[in-house]
Amino acid sequence: MQFGIFTVGDVTTDPTTGRTPTEHERIKAMAAMARKAEEVGLDVFATGEHHNPPFVPSSPTTMLGYIAAQTRDLILSTATTLITTNDPVKIAEDFAMLQHLADGRVDLMLGRGNTGPVYPWFGQDISKGIELAIENYHLLYRLWREDVVDWDGEFRTPLQGFTSVPRPLDGVPPFVWHGSIRSPEIAEQAAFYGDGFFANHIFWPTEHFVRLVGYYRQRFAHYGHGTPEQAIVGLGGQVFMRKNSQDAVREFRPYFDNAPVYGHGPSLEDFTSQTPLTVGSPQEVIDKTLTFREHFGDYQRQLFLMDHAGLPLKVVLEQLDLLGEVVPVLRRELNALRPADVPDGPTHQARVAASLTDADTNLETSNR
C-alpha cells in the first residue's frame, strides 16, 4: 500500500492573513512539501498540471526532475497529466527522460482537464475530450512499447518510422493511472489496458466513486487482467489534523469557508459528513481513511490533498509531520487486511521483475 500527497498547485490568498504567496514561493513550497513527504516516510508526491492562473505547475517533469535530485525513495507522479492537450509524443519523451534521471521512481496519472479555454490554447476542442484521451493514450502506449512506430490518427501529425527517445528505463514504461471524476469511458480505458484507475474522491460523496471504481474492477476482469479484486485502484483524500479535534476544526474553518472549490457553500460539518474530507484528530483521520477500504475494496494507493485553500507552507509541513504519524498505522492495518493475491502498489523494481518472469502479455496493438 502506497501513501502520498497530491497538490493542485494553486496560488490562493491565505484568508486568515490576506497574504498571497508569489508564484516563486508557491513553486518552492511544492518542492519543500515533496522533500518533507519523503522525510516523514510517505511514498508518493504528485503534482497537478495547469496552464492558467491561479495555478503554477505548467511543467510537471521539470518540477519532478528537480525533486528527484533532492530525494532518494519518493515516487514522483502527477495528478493529472493532461492527455487531451499535450502531444503524446512529448509525454512519452518527457516522462521517459524523468524515469531515467529518477532511476525508475516515476509514474503518472492521466486526466482530461476540465477548463474549456485550455483546449483551444493547445489547438484542441473540449467536446472531443474523451476521443482525445482515447487516441492520445493509445499512441503513448505504443511509443513506450514499440521501438519504431508508424502512426496515423485524427488528432496529430502522422508518424513514419518514429522512435521515441530515450527508451523506457529497463524496457519498462512508467506505470499509468487514469484519473476520472465522472466518466465511465475512462474507467473502461484503464480496464482495457490493465492500467491503474484513480478516483479523485475528494469534493464529492463516496457513493458516486464507488460505482465508478466498481465498474473499473468489473471491466478489468472482463479484459483478462485478473480478478476484479486485483485491479489497481488509487483514491484521493483530504485531511486537516491537530492533536485536539476541536483545534483542527477551529483552525481549518476559515480556510474551508473561503476555499476555491467549495467555499461559501455548505458548512464544514455538512461537507465532512457528505465527502471524504476529515478535519479532526489523527485518530479520526485513521478511522475515516480505513472506511475507504470498506467502500472500495483493497486498494493500492492513497493520496492526500494537504495544501490547498491558501494554507501557509509552515502549516502544511506541520500537517505532513502529523500525516507521517498516521500513515504507519494505516499502512499496517491495510497491508494486514489485503489478501496475498491482491497486488501491492506499483513500483519500477516490481514491474521490472515481473517483466523478466512473465511471458510478454502485452496487448496486441494494431495500426488501425
Binding site: E154, P184, A191, H208, Y215, V261, Y262, D270
Partner: protein, 202 residues
C-alpha cells in the same frame, strides 16, 4: 398495474403561496383523469434553497436534494410551477433544473405553470419556461397555465377561467402519462461503449 407517480415542483417562496395553490390544483386535476392510487409527490423548492445553491458550488447534491432530484427523474409526469419575477421564472426554479443532469429529463412529460401579479406576464410561460423544457428535451403539454392574482376571483364556468384551464392542462398531462410506458431512469453505466468501440469511433 404499475402505480403512476406525478411529481409537483413548486418554486413559490411565500407561505402560504399562490404558486403552491396552483400546483396542488393542477396535481388534483391530473390525478382525476388517472387511475385511483396515482401517487403525488410535492417538492417545495423553498425547503431545498440552500442545498440547491450548495450544489451549484460543489457539484453534488445533499442527501435531501439528491432524493428530490431522484423523484423528479423517476416521475411519470412532472408539474413544474414557478412565480414570475421580473418577467421570468424565479431564479430558484431555474437553479433547481440547472443542478439536474441535462439528459435526465429527456422525454419527461411536463405540465408548466406560473403565477404572477397581472396577466400581462402570462406569455413568459411560452417565451421563457417552455423553451427551458424544450432544451431539456422534455415533452410539455400544449396548455400552460398562468394564474394572475385576479384569476383567483374569477367565477367558474365563465369560459377561459382558471379552473377550466387547470382541468384542460391536467387532462392533457394525464392523457400523455396514460399512453406512456412507466418511467425508467437512464443508467449511465448501461450504455458505456466497450473500449473497442471507443477506439474505433475516434
Amino acid at each position: 398495474m404499475t402505480t403512476r407517480t406525478i411529481v409537483v415542483v413548486s418554486a413559490g417562496l411565500s407561505q402560504p403561496s399562490s404558486t403552491r395553490l396552483l400546483a396542488d390544483q393542477l396535481a388534483a386535476a391530473t390525478a382525476r383523469d388517472l387511475p385511483a392510487g396515482t401517487q403525488i409527490i410535492t417538492i417545495e423548492l423553498r425547503e431545498l434553497a440552500h442545498d440547491i445553491v450548495d450544489n451549484l458550488l460543489t457539484g453534488f447534491p445533499s442527501p435531501a436534494l439528491g432524493e428530490a432530484i431522484g423523484q423528479v427523474v423517476r416521475a411519470d409526469g412532472l408539474i413544474a410551477v414557478t412565480p414570475l419575477y421580473n418577467g421570468s421564472y424565479a431564479g430558484l426554479f431555474k437553479s433547481f433544473f440547472d443542478v439536474i443532469d441535462a439528459e435526465a429529463l429527456a422525454g419527461k412529460r411536463v405540465l408548466i405553470a406560473a403565477t404572477g401579479g397581472t396577466a400581462r406576464h402570462s406569455l413568459a410561460l411560452e417565451h421563457v419556461i417552455r423553451p427551458l423544457f424544450t432544451y431539456l428535451r422534455a415533452v410539455t403539454v400544449p396548455t400552460a397555465v398562468f394564474a394572475a392574482t385576479e384569476d383567483w376571483g374569477t367565477a367558474t364556468g365563465s369560459g377561459g377561467d382558471l379552473t377550466a384551464r387547470i382541468e384542460r392542462a391536467g387532462s392533457e398531462l394525464a392523457a400523455l402519462i396514460d399512453r406512456s410506458q412507466p418511467a425508467a431512469p437512464a443508467d449511465p453505466y448501461a450504455s458505456v461503449p466497450s473500449f473497442e468501440q471507443l477506439l474505433r469511433s475516434r
